[in-house]
Symmetry: C2
Subunit: 402 residues, 2 copies
């Protein structure tokens, strides 16, 4: 298992020493993280690395997962979409299942920690059931700037009980929320199986295993099968690109256990791209395999992220870390990671043509692509690695506990 020392070569002694220094005053503190999925999706992945490192530096950090029935996850997926602006039909029954699942968790989860961090809407109302004996922080990973009004009014009373809300973007701050709002960018773990250096041999072997041919340049989007990721838009972009440069499109997405919509979207794409899938020009992958994602991000000519909404968009940092140039929508946290024209291209999420042109530019200019990839990696090293996240959380903990 990884320790903070293992990151010295990547971030330098200064950062490592800084982390130990910040941790020193927090020794013996006992933190609890609660989210709703162990596997699948960026939050679970980040938590897994983060919690290991926190324990490694001496901050006892527990992880507890709110369990629910498929019903519950359908409701919270609806909430997720509604917080991002899609109108939702909030029935009495849905509220009931949502609250009951949280109350059941409360029944069998005793909390005596020094601070509790609750992730995203699924376990948000837990706070209502506990006799609060410590600060609670709501860590929201999604874009809540334009939520469905009814849902927001339903959820806000729970948020008001928290001592702090952590958001991923200055733009997500809410004027109507009189709770301290702090911005902490998420981060990737450069030593996780998804991001660690791979030999050419491993990359080739992995891609062969999943039948990904590398005889043409690869355009790749890595994302859950989700309407907000606009996989259908990616198909349109690809068709335009292919008129100029022969290439292959890879859509690679896993199904998270808390995302029942995924399968439906996947099947729609499959129908729509039927002809190009049969010809082998489009490859749909549905695998929960970090080495595959890592290999694709390393071997692709261009990574695309055509999201309509994006909590933060860590797939951008993942690709940039591998020196692969990225063309991505100018939404959510993506412009925080990409300076347009510097370390990648930003495009309007509805401008298929511009997106295609930028992909073509990169395919036709290997020197530009290489330069952007290099700058991308440095951007990530400075701002979006897990060691920076650890430092930000240590600062937050110091503020709340000392």
């Amino acid at each position: 298992m990884r320790t903070i020392e293992d990151y010295r070569d990547i971030v330098g002694d200064g950062v490592i020493s800084n982390i130990y220094r910040k941790a020193r005053k927090l020794y013996g503190k006992h933190i609890l993280e609660i989210n709703s999925t162990y596997q699948g999706g960026g939050v679970a992945e980040m938590l897994s690395s983060f919690i290991h490192l926190m324990n490694d530096i001496g901050i006892e950090t527990d992880w507890n997962i709110l369990h629910g029935t498929p019903d519950f996850f359908e409701i919270t997926k609806l909430f997720h979409n509604a917080l991002q602006g899609k109108p939702a039909n909030l029935t009495e029954n849905k509220r009931h299942i949502y609250l009951q699942t949280n109350e059941e968790f409360y029944m069998y989860t005793h909390i005596s920690h020094d601070l509790v961090i609750v992730h995203d809407p699924q376990p948000l109302p837990l706070i209502k059931f506990y006799k609060k004996g410590q600060p609670w922080v709501w860590r929201c990973h999604i874009d809540i700037s334009n939520p469905d009004k009814n849902l927001w009014e339903f959820l806000k009373p729970f948020i008001l009980r928290y001592d702090m809300a952590i958001l991923s973007n200055e733009k997500y701050k809410k004027n109507d929320l009189p709770v301290e709002q702090k911005i902490i960018y998420p981060a990737i773990d450069p030593l996780s199986p998804k991001n660690i250096d791979l030999s050419d041999e491993v990359i080739e072997k992995t891609l062969r295993k999943f039948d990904v041919k590398t005889d043409k340049p690869l355009i790749t989007q890595i994302s859950r099968y989700d309407l907000w990721k606009d996989p259908e838009g990616v198909l349109e972009v690809f068709k335009l690109v292919k008129e100029k440069v022969d290439c292959r499109l890879i859509l690679c997405g896993s199904m998270a256990t808390d995302d029942p919509e995924g399968l439906k979207v996947y099947e729609r794409i499959k129908r729509k791209a039927n002809r190009l899938i049969r010809s082998g020009d489009i490859i749909l992958l549905n695998a929960e395999n970090n080495t595959l994602v890592n290999s694709l991000q390393r071997r692709s000519a261009v990574v695309v992220q055509k999201s309509i909404r994006e909590g933060f968009g860590l797939t951008i940092s993942e690709a940039l870390w591998k020196e692969t140039p990225v063309v991505a929508s100018n939404v959510g946290g993506i412009p925080i990671q990409i300076i347009d024209g510097e370390n990648g291209f930003l495009v309007d999420p509805y401008d298929i043509k511009d997106c295609a042109n930028k992909v073509i530019t990169l395919l036709q200019n290997p020197a530009l692509a290489e330069d952007m990839g290099k700058k991308g990696k440095e951007m990530v090293r400075k701002n979006f690695l897990i060691t920076r996240l650890v430092q930000d959380y240590l600062d937050m903990l110091s503020q709340m506990l000392l």
Copy 2:
């Protein structure tokens, strides 16, 4: 949410008062239950009811679930089968994943409870990683009387660290295990959605929803799709029965998240019974729906449980509680629940013909079937309801903690 008071009408004031009395000396004690699945399978179901009642009577009981990747669950399924006697190939890699998953859980799960109860083989080695500061009890729900030798030698050192092992059957006690071995029978919750009284209207509506026609007598086996449950044997039995009495066979099984083998078995049955499925005489259901199971158990003419091995076989008690007669294999905990010829029939698990004859006997003798069903219900009321389980655990806790 249910409270212990809700069971008064079913078990009587004496039992309820006895539970409160046993709980009194344990107030303030803090118990932790650890298993590896939240949904699917009898253990999760029993825990869910049990933990609620323990908290209701004032014993703070937490529930924590060991999470793992699909790899992990394939390995522990293999362990499960090998503990029941199927030879296993125990590679170094399998041991490694098994231990690593447990070590990771340890990393982010702080334990400061007064007593820890660990269920089944999945989280068994956890105990190795903790600095033990309280009694630990291993609660084994499966038949470990003839385990694969290599696996047993690998697992035994972990069991030795426990203060007690709880088994479901006197026959499962191990001579070579110098740890206190206690027998506690599992139990069903008469107020859970799977067992609660249903009106005829709800039963009819539910069966219609799942396309189960009730124009002929129903023979039903409720079981995960698992080789140990011998669904293929049930097909053979059904063919013999159908020569004498026109009837329909229902196989109803859900897929547990920790049971990757289920799908394979399901598909094999589907092929084998293809013709009878198309004619509508066999219905394969694959649903995680308690009201469906409840309705089937209430509406069936005969419930069959043709298992080759059975940890305990709570589906027997479930069916008996609904006054439905049962023909079941004389294995595992089944003869504890059925007195042959009294409240059901026991058959040799390999004697297809005898099993078919007993089913035919019940189909042709409604008065006998009714009498056995009534006796079955009283057997369950006395011995296999959750209130009895609560009392046994309170006794165990008193022994360990007072």
